[in-house]
Amino acid sequence: MLMTGAQILMECLLEQEVDTVFGFPGGTIMHVYDELLNYPAIHHILTAHEQGACHAADGYARSTGRVGVCFATSGPGATNLVTGIATAYMDSSPVVCISCNVSLSLLGKDSFQEVDITGVTMPITKCNYLVRDVGDLADTVREAFAIARSGRPGPVLIDIPRNVTQDMADYTPLARDGHGKVGRLGQLMKRSSQNFRAAEPDYRDIDILVDMIRAAQRPMVICGGGVVRSRADRELETFANRIDAPVGITVMGAGGFRGLNPLATGLVGMHGSQASNMAVDACDLLIAVGCRFSDRVALRPRSFARNAKVVQIDIDRSEINKNVETDHHIVGDAKRVLALLNERLEQMDHAKWKEYVFSYKTQTEYDEAADHMTPGQVLDAIARIVPNYTIFATDVGQHQMWAIQHLHFEYCGQLVTSGGYGTMGFGLGAAIGAQVGNPEMPVVLITGDGSFRMNLNELSTVQYYGLPIIVVLFNNGTLGMVRQWQTLSCNGRHSQTTLDRGPDFVKLADAYGIKGFRVTDVTELEAALTEAFVARVPAVIDCAIDIDEMVRPMVGGGSHITRFMVD
């Protein structure tokens, strides 16, 4: 059937079962937006800024496990996506970004709103495309989605020149299971060394690990983001229970291991619990599942798990031995590897080892101050009011660490947070994506005054679409995490981190047509949370906390994992 490029794009999105797109229109992408009017099955969420659209597509992908899609126009529209794409790339989130560029006849001439976005995004995408011929469009879109969601997921960008969206080509519908059999994708699938398929692990490697587990006296497991991406939480729980080993989580791994399981030791690494970090240091076998040992986890790679044989299970071969030298590795999908291990393992008992590990604290206790709420009090109040399956989004900073340390996540995708890239301003867009992707679920955004100010323009999106997101704002009047570092490593000189300025977040919420609350104690907080939750309306709750509250424990960057600067 003869169709325009814009029509083909819409048909290809339907092939991928895309029902939601986040985006912002502009000059070069106008034909795509025009065609959108003919496709009511594709629901478009108009954000205030392209960055918000990209974070929303990312939040949608993380919380649903499906591919998130966003649209942007050329030039500034496309570069506004960049932070969002980098965020998705660092956390392996499947997002397909579709940008339009100036027409081919204008390309390369510094035309109005022109940028070489494929060049710009090369280091932060799994792959990107400039579609010069409308005849290649359908194949390219199919390939892009396949790449985004397969193997180790990640963002892919398709840049379509304006004239290609108008040019005509023959389009033949093709169901998704046929995509890998024809065209360029078919060729790529046949070729070796491609990341389109989940690796079937080497059974010899599995058997070696089984022997190592049987020989270990003090096994420890780290649950990384790979467990969440492969939705392997059940397999991991069976595995941990079977080998009777404590399990620590990384920031990205939160939700991959049920927080209330008695084997959970909490976060590992820079802000890791005492139990987690002491266990990593003392264990004789460390099994890291879907974890790349980032500098925030391993801290000092040479002395990380110094008494242990380190085993890494990862879907991405290039992560093996990248940061920490391992003794054994298995390349494969976490879900499959754990299932194979579970088939081979018998019930074990490490009571003495657990007794040692759990003699250390798994959670930080915060001193209760008379005049301010503590972070712990705020988070406890949230946990009391909202159901335990609530989806949490966070921004980046102290509030993020407090939330991950303090809340118990139950399932994969329950926490949407920017781990690897640490993108302040991620939270509100991501919460929008999570809420749109999970309309029946309660969504709470935990944020700080510094992060929230960065992209709070998306409150208009929240209000317009009536998304019942509850924003809990930890307002300490400072960029808390940087202030904490300044206190600890710059002799308490707080350079440019004090936010003794507006806005008044309650008035601001009001201006956006959203109910705002300012709370100073737990009773008021609970009342505000209850009101917003029961009414299923968006709300911004400004919680005053102390400016000098710290994230504890903390190990300095590059230090040994048990050298706590503050505990």
């Binding site: 792959c127 397969s150 193997g151 070796s192 060394s193 491609q194 389109f196 398929r197 290039s318």
Partner: protein
């Protein structure tokens, strides 16, 4: 393990626009200077072969290969073992030769290296040499005394001796060959 030495990587890639920058970016992104780079098509017109030489240690060379394999445009990657690899590059050198003696000397040096004289003019001679870097460097020193006007090197190309090819199976490569289709 941590000894810095020259590693030769052979990379088969799609013969398409933008592929070279995708490959080169992986090196610059990690702060490695590419010592030598040569690209050309192969017997399959859809496939180009890139030969890259980089100074680094064993571990980093392995990591670069793993990351190269993740690029969609990359078909295969192999680290070529120095012991069983033939490496060659083409060097063109334009030498000033205004006197009879100078011309004689240049011709003598060229014949010592089995290099050929490919252009002659009243003031200059241009020499083409095929060899490895030690030959290139020696001839450069010798001709430098006479006066090099211009010099260009193609970068190393390399093939393994015997029947070994880039498609040889290894454990590392197996780990990139996937079985189950998830599409």
């Amino acid at each position: 393990m941590n000894e810095i030495k020259r590693h030769t990587l052979a990379v088969l890639v799609d013969n398409e626009a933008g592929v070279l920058s995708r490959v080169a970016r992986l090196f610059s992104g990690k702060g490695y200077n590419i010592e030598s780079l040569a690209v050309g098509t192969t017997h399959d017109p859809a496939v180009s072969r890139i030969t890259i030489e980089v100074l680094t240690d064993e571990k980093q060379a392995g990591l670069i290969c793993s990351q190269l394999r993740k690029l969609i445009c990359v078909h295969s990657v192999k680290r070529l073992d120095a012991e069983r690899t033939i490496r060659r590059e083409l060097v063109l050198i334009k030498v000033s030769a205004s006197t009879h003696e100078a011309r004689n000397e240049i011709v003598q040096i060229a014949s010592l290296f089995h290099a050929s004289i490919i252009d002659v003019s009243t003031g200059s001679l241009t020499i083409a040499l095929i060899g490895d870097e030690s030959q290139a460097e020696t001839i450069q020193t010798l001709l430098g005394e006479i006066g090099i006007m211009e010099l260009v090197r193609t970068g190393m190309v390399a093939l393994e001796r015997g029947q070994y090819t880039i498609d040889e199976q290894t454990k590392e490569k197996d780990e990139f060959d996937y079985g189950k289709n998830v599409l």
